[in-house]
Symmetry: C2
Subunit: 437 residues, 2 copies
C-alpha cells in the first residue's frame, strides 16, 4: 500500500482526552476515531490490526473444536426475563423499544440467546458435546467510558459456549478453552496469566480471568515470579487427549487479583512475589445449569430421562486486545507491533521522493516485496525525512526499510528492527532476502 | 468437517412462516434461526456462506481501490440532525436513549458518520480521491419484516463512500464501483442488471440499482432480452484507465423497474422485452455535496479557496445476497450453491456407517481431500441412505461423493454434480482426481 493513497490521518499533537498510552497512540497513529463516548470508528490501519487479532482468535478456537457462527446484536427482552437477568443487569444494558413498542436490548453477552438456539435444535445426549462461538459487537453502557477501546461501550468480543451432558464433559470443554486461551495470547505476543476469578454477573462455580501485566492496567495483581519463565509455546497440545496436566501446570503457580489476594494468606514468600497491575483480556466460566434450567435446554440421556445440559462460556475482548497489546508493547516513540498482528510487516521509506534513483529503487523493492506476499506500507510522499521516520516509529511496523540518496551511492539501504532499534546497512539484495526470509 | 460433530440442525418439516424458497430452505438446511422478527442468528453453515460472500465483495472492493475500515453500529443523533435526516427518516430508524438520556440510533446507513470522519481528517485536494468502505450490521425497523434474510431488520451491508474534488472525479469513482459491482455479482454466479434508479432517502442525481432476476423478487422489472447474453467475465478491467466504455456497454441495453418503466415510452419492441421480477442486491449513488455541505466536509483547492467534496455511496446487501443466491439457484430438492460461495465444495456420504470397508474408504477420502485443501462435509452418521442423500441435496453442496458397499465390491464410488444431477461411477482414484482437479 502506498502511503500517498492510504487513509492514515496521523495526528501531530497528542489528543488531550487520552490518558493512557494505547489510547493516545491509537488516535495519533490514525487507527481509530471516536464516534461518541466509548464508541469508535476503526480506520483502515486499526481495522487491519483488529482483523488480524480476530483471525488468531478464530484459528485457535477452531483448533480447540469450537464452531463459528454469528448471533445478532439486538435481542429480545423476553429471553432475558426467562433467565432472570433482565432486571438484574442494571443500566449497563442498552435497552431499546422498537416501532411496535416491543422491548429489545443490545446484547452485552449471549448466554440466553445461544441457550435458546441450542434448546430448539438439540434433543439427545448423542448430539453432545458441542462448542459454538461467535465474534460480534456487544454493548455495555458504561457510566464513564474511558481509556479508548480498553473500556468502550461498543466493543468486539469473541464468546464461546460449551454444552455437555455432565460435569466431566464440561470440565473437558473448560480445559480446552483454558489451553486455547494460553495459545491465543501467546501468539499475540502477550503473557496472559490465568487467575482464579469471581464469577460475577455470568454466574457459575469455576472461572478464570486471563490477565496481561501492564502498568496502566485496571486491577492490582499479584503473582509468583516463576510466571515470567512459564509459557505454552513449545508445549504440545492434543485437544482429543487429557488436557488436565497442562491446566494443572498453569494453575500451580500463584496468581491473584486484589479481589482474591489476601496478603496474610499468600503462599508466596515476598521475595518471589511480583506485585503489578494487569488488564483482563479473557474470562472463562463454567456455570452448570444456570441457564439451561430456566431456559429448558434439556437432552434425553441414555436412560431415557431428560436433564439440563452443563454449560460454560468463554470470552475474549478482541477490540480491547488492540489496546492491550499496545499497553504491553510500546516505547516513547510509538507502538511496537508483534509480527503476528502488525498491520504491515515492512515500512518502506523513500527519503527523497524527488530523486529518480531513490524512487526507482523503492518502486522496485515495493514490487518485489509485494510479489513475495509481504505486506508493505510504502511512504512515497514528498515529505521531509524526519517526519517520515518519526511516523514509521509511531505506527510501529516490525521492520523499516529506508532508502536514501547517500546510501544508494554505495548501493546500500538501511533496515531497522523496530523492537530492538538495531539498524543495518545492507545491499539491496541482502535487505530483500532478510525480509523475505 | 464430520457431520456427526457439526452443528447443522436440519429440519424435516417446512416451517409454516416461510413464504419464499430461500427462507424455507435456509431454515430447513440449518443455516439460520430467527431470534426476533426480522433478526436472525447465523448457524455455522449459514455463517460460512455469509463469510464467503463477504470475502468476494471485499476482494472486488479492494481491487477497485476502496479501503476497508469499520464504523460502529450505534451513532449519535446529533450527527443526523446536522445532515437534516434525523426527523425525515421516520420510524424505520431504530432510536435509542443511553443511560444519560442522550439520543442515539442504530445506523441504517453511514453517510453522516463517514463524512464526519473525513471532515476531521482531510484538509487538501491533494489528499483526494479517497474511497472507503466497511461491512457492518445495519438496522432498519421495518413494519413487517419478512422473507427471512431478504427483508430483515438487522442486516449485513457493505457500504462504500467516495470523496472527490469535482464531478469528473466523482464520476470516475462511480464508474469504478459500477464495474466492481458487475464483477462481484458475476463471481457470485448472479446475473445482476444495473437499472437507472430513483435516489430515494439517500438523495443525489445519479443512481443505479443492481437487480437479479427471480420470480419471487419484490419489484416488477423489464429488460431487453440481450441482457441474457451480456456478462462482464472475460472483459479486461483496468481501474486506472477509463471505465466509461464498460459502463456504456452495460447501460446501452434497456432495463427498468416498474417505478421507471413507462410501457408507452419503452424503446424495446415487445418481442425483445423480458418482463419478470427482480431482487435488488446493490445500489450506487452519486449525490454531489448533499452531505459535505451541511457537515462542512471541505478541502482547500489549488487556488486556495475551499470547496465541499463530491461524494457518492455504494451499497451491497451481503446478508440479503445469501437469500438472493438461493432464490436464483435452487430446485425442488433444495439449494444449489455456486462453487464460489458453497459452504463446502464436497459432501462425502458414507452410505453404511456400520460397514468397516465403507468407513475405511470414506476416512481415507476425507483425509486426502482435506490434505488437498478441499472443504468437505463428511456424513459419517449412522443413518439410513435415503435421508442422507436427501440432506445432501437440501444443503446443496456442488459435489456429492457417495460411498456404498455395493459399489466398493467393484472398487467404485459415485460422484454427483448437484447442479446438473449428473452421476458417474468412478474408481476411487479417478473420483479423487476429478475433485482435486
Amino acid at each position: 500500500m502506498r502511503l500517498s493513497a492510504y487513509f492514515l490521518p496521523i495526528l501531530k499533537e497528542t489528543p488531550a482526552e487520552a490518558q493512557i498510552a494505547s489510547h493516545r497512540l491509537m488516535l495519533r497513529a490514525g487507527m481509530v476515531r471516536q464516534a461518541s463516548a466509548g464508541i469508535y470508528s476503526w480506520l483502515p490501519m486499526g481495522f487491519k490490526v483488529l482483523q488480524k487479532i480476530g483471525q488468531v482468535v478464530r484459528e485457535e478456537q477452531n483448533a480447540a473444536g469450537a464452531q463459528e457462527m454469528l448471533m445478532p446484536t439486538i435481542q429480545s427482552a423476553d429471553l432475558w426475563r426467562q433467565s432472570g437477568r433482565y432486571d438484574g443487569y442494571g443500566k449497563e444494558m442498552l435497552r431499546i423499544k422498537d416501532r411496535h413498542d416491543r422491548e429489545m436490548l443490545y446484547g452485552p453477552t449471549n448466554e440466553e440467546q445461544i441457550t435458546e438456539i441450542f434448546r430448539s435444535s438439540v434433543r439427545s445426549y448423542k448430539d453432545l458435546p458441542r462448542m459454538l462461538y461467535h465474534i460480534q459487537w456487544k454493548f455495555r453502557d458504561e457510566v464513564r467510558p474511558r481509556f479508548g477501546v480498553m473500556r468502550g461501550r461498543e466493543f468486539l468480543m469473541k464468546d464461546a459456549y460449551s454444552f455437555d451432558v455432565d460435569y466431566e464433559g464440561a470440565k473437558r470443554a473448560y480445559n480446552k478453552m483454558f489451553v486455547a486461551y494460553l495459545r491465543t495470547f501467546d501468539r499475540l505476543g502477550l503473557k496472559a496469566i490465568p487467575m482464579a476469578a469471581d464469577t460475577g454477573p455470568i454466574g457459575g462455580d469455576m472461572s478464570h480471568e486471563f490477565i496481561i501485566l501492564a502498568e496502566t492496567g485496571e486491577s492490582q495483581v499479584f503473582c509468583h515470579k516463576g510466571w515470567m519463565d512459564l509459557g505454552i509455546s513449545g508445549i504440545e497440545v492434543d485437544y482429543q487427549g487429557d488436557l488436565q496436566p497442562v491446566v494443572d501446570k498453569f494453575t500451580s503457580l500463584y496468581a491473584a487479583t486484589d479481589e482474591k489476594h489476601v496478603p496474610a494468606e499468600c503462599p508466596v514468600p515476598a521475595a518471589d512475589l511480583i506485585e503489578t497491575r494487569g488488564i483482563e483480556v479473557g474470562h472463562i466460566f463454567y456455570f452448570a445449569s444456570k441457564y439451561s434450567e430456566p431456559l429448558k435446554a434439556e437432552v434425553q440421556m441414555p436412560d431415557g430421562a431428560t436433564a439440563p445440559v452443563h454449560m460454560g462460556s468463554y470470552g475474549i475482548g478482541v477490540s480491547r486486545l488492540v489496546g492491550g497489546i499496545i499497553e504491553a508493547s510500546h516505547d516513547e516513540a510509538g507502538i511496537i507491533w508483534p509480527e503476528s498482528v502488525a498491520p504491515f510487516k515492512v515500512g518502506l521509506v523513500n527519503l527523497k521522493a524527488g530523486d529518480a534513483e531513490c524512487t526507482r529503487v523503492c518502486d522496485d523493492l515495493y514490487a518485489k516485496l509485494n510479489a513475495a506476499g509481504i505486506e508493505v506500507l510504502y511512504d512515497d510522499r514528498d515529505e521531509r525525512p524526519g517526519p517520515k521516520l518519526a511516523g514509521m516509529d509511531l505506527i510501529g511496523l516490525p521492520w523499516q526499510l529506508v532508502v536514501g540518496p547517500r546510501g544508494l551511492q554505495n548501493g546500500l539501504v538501511e533496515i531497522k528492527h523496530r523492537r530492538t532499534g538495531e539498524k543495518h546497512e545492507l545491499s539491496i539484495d541482502s535487505a530483500l532476502s532478510k525480509l523475505i526470509g
